[in-house]
């Protein structure tokens, strides 16, 4: 599963990427987390608030660090 975390390298963006990696490790789902920090690409997804999470080309979350439960739902 390919997951993109959009954000200009802020603390919350890093926390989001770390959280996804951790939950994936717990549940045993194979994920590739890619951090997108380039502003042109970020706005290309149409998000106005970061961090945002993109799975399969779709924005599933934006504006905050997601909760572990939300991440589990995406991975499940």
């Amino acid at each position: 599963m390919e997951i993109k975390v959009l954000g200009p390298g802020c603390a919350k963006c890093k926390a989001t990427a770390d959280l996804i990696g951790r939950v994936a490790g717990e549940t045993g789902v194979q994920v590739q987390v890619e951090k997108i920090e380039d502003m042109r690409q970020i706005v290309g997804f149409g998000v106005m608030t970061t961090p945002a999470v993109v799975i399969g080309g779709k924005v599933v979350h934006k504006g905050s660090v997601p909760s572990p439960d939300q991440v589990r739902a995406w991975l499940g």
Partner: protein, 354 residues
Amino acid sequence: MSADITTASRPASRPAWVWHAGVVAFGVVWWLVYRQLVPAAEWITALFPVDRRSHAGEALAFFFYDVPKVMLLLTLIVFAMGVVRSYFSPERTRALLAGRREGVGNAMAALLGVVTPFCSCSAVPLFIGLVSAGVPLGVTFSFLIAAPMVNEVALALLFGLVGWQVALTYFAFGLVIAIVAGWVIGRLHLEGWLQGWVRDIHSGATAPEAVEGARLTLTDRYKLGIEAVREIFGRVWKWIILGIGMGALIHGYVPEDLMARIMGADAWWSVPAAVLIGIPMYTNAAGVIPIVEALLGKGAALGTVLAFMMAVIALSLPEMIILRQVLTLRLIAVFVGVVGSGILAVGYLFNVLF
């Protein structure tokens, strides 16, 4: 509210009435604690081996009164704003502002800047999201000026430390500066001074609909309020203690009318000097307002300290560096010039009036 509201995946663990009761109980406890602040501060100060009337005694009493007071006020106001903000989103603000005429648009943008969730780390995608959806440049600037300047942390601290009159004044004139400066920038027609790549996405870029189209229950909004309190406290508590510590030292040790001479209303150069010093200062409302309060107490003029505070909060160097990705240097210079002039005008106006 109906029962079929689809919230995010969270199951409701407690019934809603528990939350309502909890919020009411919190309000009552808050009020009881708030009323005990003065005796508590005096009691703690008395534990120290210093004379209450000495410089050190003054500084300590000031510190132990102001820190808990500010923390309490901040908790209440940030929670309330967190709940209010859950009704707004950048997407909704954009829909309200798109295609809006200048003038009315500037006023709406400034007001929405106060209530829309905003973090300067998201300033760039927000800026592009607004401009690319057809929000006029000047209206976008009104939003971007008001959002960081008129924030609940500044209002809570001003209200708690300096009084509601100054808090209200700051609120009103912060909005006026955002509206007028945005309008002026709009009149200058500087769309050509955006960075090239921003102009290119001007027409395209369709944003997806709000991903969490889910409606929130009041309980969800309480949780967002609590989340806001936790997040803002994590960010500002050091600044508050540092700022109030500095304020306490000024309060206890700086001679009575020293500030009247440097920052008083008679020193005409003090207002521009306050703005120039304020721009590169990297702090936030939480750090600067306790100092402002102490300076006021030592005879500094209200207009001068207001100008200083506004410059520190509204014209911050880090934010300009972030905005550099979308604005050319010329446009940033115009932005600083226009907002700075507005702050100067407010500073002089208050020094003349009060």
